[in-house]
């Protein structure tokens, strides 16, 4: 941008966005710190806290190991089978967990792996007396693999598809056996992607809330985030919540630092769609092995989804559609989702533009450069201070002012907007940078600015990424249980909270109907935003 007055407006808008984020997060942390007077009593060294920390790290490590270990053969099979009927649908099904509310996925897994689920029923018919229990560590691992294995497989597949076709031809020409092909061609690519992918999955699993809350099955299988929620909501033990929050921030901070050091590959979770012809795919053994892995991934991911669909359709959908509590929850969810998506996209766009304007200056002072870096870093602040910690801070901050539920709508909107910010930033930043590079000088020389620029020059080409960011932010908010779990009340019930309540009160038929409804709603928004675009944001909280 080359007009000083417009630059000032742009930078001010970005600064307001940045200030808002820092204030919101800063006040939450300040509230936690100010009320941490009981630290001296040794809360931090409480055996329970260390048990929870150990379990958090254990389940995250095992989830990561399993997700990555299973993703490698699935990605290799899909990379090797470049053309079979339905390949595109296999890839689409693998993308579904990304847009699915975590609670809905969990319900689908219970339908398959639960006590009354398809698997246990089949095992019982085979004469097995001890059913597989989905609650506890096994269920958490299963659910984390369900959500993260497809993500890692897609990342690996994208990497494998970027291998130049000449490599495969050369390997075929040299007569490389499968082992050598893996060692010299595939593994170097996968090894490059491995630290970033594993770090991302570990981060997502270590900060998992909804899945652990739903499938943990009790205090023995609780993560730090769930323990914070329980400390505030059930035990009303603020010192413990504060100690846990501090631990969570230290842990996520260390993880983010480690992730920044190891993640060398640019984040591209989508496949290029250009599959090279593979000459190692012709043997009967490789055909059988690939078919097995593809079928496994299809069943593992597709079966819970089909179960949600099946049990949802069996529910009394007409009764649910006429239920006033469902209407209220739906309206609440949509209002919160629209507001948080608007806030998130608006703040992200303002901050990206401001950072771009500052950086474009030839002699940007150190302060201006620091502003630009802070703007970019602040969009990922929610990864450092997770929603439950933010919620805990605001919960403590607002408690002296009466019933915290009164403030619930504003806090939930703000937390949901912050949750979506890293993903929205990742969608918008490259699109806005490219657009600015193409149009800034031309618009400046022609004197097109303000609303005219927005209407004629900016909105038409940016409509698609904006829509994608907006719908993804909406889908995230619609499916979120974390923020509303702390602040929800009888007056503010969202669809996920209603679903969780019905699951908890054993109204499983209602829950199934609601899950189908919520799942379809979120998938529609995700698909609307990503229609025709292969880039999907990578990873999300579970």
């Amino acid at each position: 941008m080359f007009a000083p007055a417009e630059n000032r407006i742009t930078i001010t808008a970005g600064a307001v966005g940045l200030g808002g984020i820092l204030l919101f997060v800063g006040l939450a942390i300040a509230a936690l710190l100010l009320q941490s007077g009981d630290f001296g009593n040794g809360v931090l060294f409480d055996a329970y806290i260390w048990r929870v920390t150990r379990f958090t790290l254990l389940q995250a490590s095992l989830s990561t190991l399993l997700s990555v270990a299973l993703a490698i053969p699935v990605a290799r099979a899909l990379a090797r089978r470049t053309a079979f009927p339905g390949r595109v649908w296999v890839l689409r099904i693998m993308a579904l967990p990304l847009g699915l509310p975590v609670l809905v996925g969990a319900l689908g897994l219970i339908e398959i792996w639960g006590r009354q689920g398809v698997l246990n029923t089949a095992l019982a018919e085979l004469g097995l007396q001890q059913p597989v229990s989905i609650y506890g560590l096994f269920g958490i691992l299963l659910a984390h693999v369900f959500f993260n294995m497809p993500l890692v497989a897609r990342l690996f597949l994208a990497g494998l598809e970027r291998i130049p076709s000449e490599y495969w031809r050369t390997a075929a020409n040299l007569g490389m056996p499968p082992g050598a092909l893996f060692r010299f061609v595939e593994w170097p690519v996968l090894r490059g992607l491995l630290p970033g992918a594993a770090g991302l999955v570990f981060m997502l699993c270590a900060t998992s809330f909804t899945l652990v809350l739903t499938l943990g099955g009790g205090p023995a299988a609780s993560t730090i985030e769930v323990a914070i929620y329980q400390a505030l909501r059930f035990d009303f033990d603020p010192p413990r919540a504060i100690a846990l929050s501090a631990l969570q921030i230290v842990m996520t901070g260390a993880l983010l630092l480690a992730l920044a050091r190891v993640a060398t590959e640019p984040a591209q979770s989508a496949t290029t769609g250009r599959a090279s012809r593979r000459y190692d795919a012709r043997t009967g053994l490789s055909r059988a092995s690939d078919a097995g892995w593809i079928l496994f991934s299809l069943l593992f991911i597709g079966a819970p989804l089909m179960a949600v669909l099946g049990s949802g359709l069996r529910a009394d959908l007409v009764k649910l559609a006429g239920d006033p509590s469902v209407h209220r929850a739906l309206i609440t969810s949509i209002v919160i989702a629209v507001l948080s998506a608007l806030l998130c996209v608006g703040v992200a766009a303002a901050m990206i533009r401001a950072a771009g304007t500052v950086v474009a200056r030839r002699h940007a002072p150190t302060l201006a450069r620091a502003f630009a870096s802070t703007v970019t870093a602040s969009t990922s602040l929610v990864l450092l201070v997770p929603p439950v910690v933010l919620g805990a801070g605001w919960f403590l901050l607002l408690r002296p002012f009466g019933d915290v539920a009164r403030f619930a709508p504003a806090i939930v909107v703000a937390i949901n907007a912050l949750m979506a910010l890293p993903f929205v930033h990742r969608i918008l930043a490259p699109a806005m940078a490219t657009h600015a590079a193409r149009t800034d000088r031309l618009t400046a020389s022609l004197g097109i600015h303000g609303l005219h620029r927005l209407r004629w020059i900016d909105l038409p080409p940016l409509r698609k990424p904006l829509l994608m960011a907006f719908s993804f932010a909406m889908a995230l908010s619609l499916g979120d249980l974390g923020a509303v779990a702390l602040f929800g009340s009888q007056d503010m019930v969202t669809l996920p909270w209603l679903l969780y309540s019905r699951m908890g009160s054993y109204r499983t038929t209602d829950a199934a109907g609601l899950a189908l409804f919520l799942g379809l709603l979120c998938l529609i928004f995700t698909m609307l935003g990503t229609a025709g675009d292969r880039r999907l944001p990578e990873g999300r909280k579970t």
């Binding site: 080359f2 007009a3 000083p4 030839r362 002699h363 193409r438 149009t439 000088r441 031309l442 400046a444 020389s445 022609l446 004197g447 097109i448 600015h449 005219h452 004629w456 020059i457 038409p460 080409p461």
Partner: protein, 238 residues
């Protein structure tokens, strides 16, 4: 100092992290000036300073005798045609040209007639409803020239306008530019890497090397020069 000069750069200094550029020159009105030099010699920076995309750290830019200090690019009596990205790809040709008349696209019937006339003059009659991606590189540059025509600015800056064109198209564009210049009698500064463009079009040449203007000669004299290695390399005399 000549107050009627098209462009005066008086002690203009531009500093980047690792390089410093200095420009001092006076360009008389009404001619076609080729701006030449090796990559990184400062040609684009010179244009950016004149067009207002860069403010000098020191010195003054004057156009037609008036100082340009603090004036935004659109407030300068300058039209710019870039090497690429001259058109907004999502808007049709007529709308792209229309921005040359009104930056808010408030166009009267007479304005629309001017747009059609300008497109006709650059050989694109009937192209008004086409979208830029459906045009060839030469056609897109012609649209940008049509927009410059309707803007009626006395100074036209062309940043390698023929760079992406094949030899046949280059010749056609050179002829068109010469015709338009003869009709408008404006001052044209044109960055080029091709001695052929200099020979065919330019009245004079500004030659840059390592951030300095090292030659500012009438074209005949420039083509005869053998005393500077950088110019010899440009002209292919080595």
């Amino acid at each position: 100092m000549n107050s009627q000069a098209a462009v005066e750069l008086v002690g203009v200094d531009i500093r980047y992290d690792t390089t410093a550029l200095h420009f001092d020159c006076t360009i008389e009105p009404g001619g076609i000036v080729a701006v030449a030099g090796a990559s990184g010699s400062g040609k684009s920076t010179l244009f950016h300073v004149i067009a207002g995309f860069e403010e000098p750290d020191r010195g003054e830019v004057r156009i037609l005798g008036k100082t340009m200090a603090g004036r935004a690019p659109a407030e300068r009596p300058v039209s710019v045609v870039f090497q690429d990205n001259n058109l907004f790809a999502h808007l049709d040709v007529a709308t792209n040209v229309g921005f040359g008349i009104s930056s808010s696209l408030r166009l009267s019937v007479a304005d629309r007639a001017r747009i059609d006339d300008a497109l006709d003059r650059v050989g694109l009659d009937g192209f008004g409803t086409r979208l830029p991606p459906t045009l060839s590189g030469g056609e897109r540059q012609r649209v940008a020239l049509a927009r410059a025509l309707v803007r009626h600015r006395p100074l036209l800056l062309l940043d390698e306008p023929f760079a992406a064109l094949d030899p046949g198209m280059r010749a056609g564009m050179r002829a068109l530019l010469q015709d338009l210049h003869d009709e408008e009698n404006n001052t044209i500064l044109m960055i080029t890497h091709h001695p052929d463009d200099v020979r065919a079009l330019a009245d004079s040449v500004l030659f840059l090397d390592q951030g300095r203007i090292i030659a500012h000669d009438p074209v005949e004299r420039f083509l005869e020069r053998r005393d500077v290695a950088a110019i010899n390399r440009f002209l292919g005399n080595e």
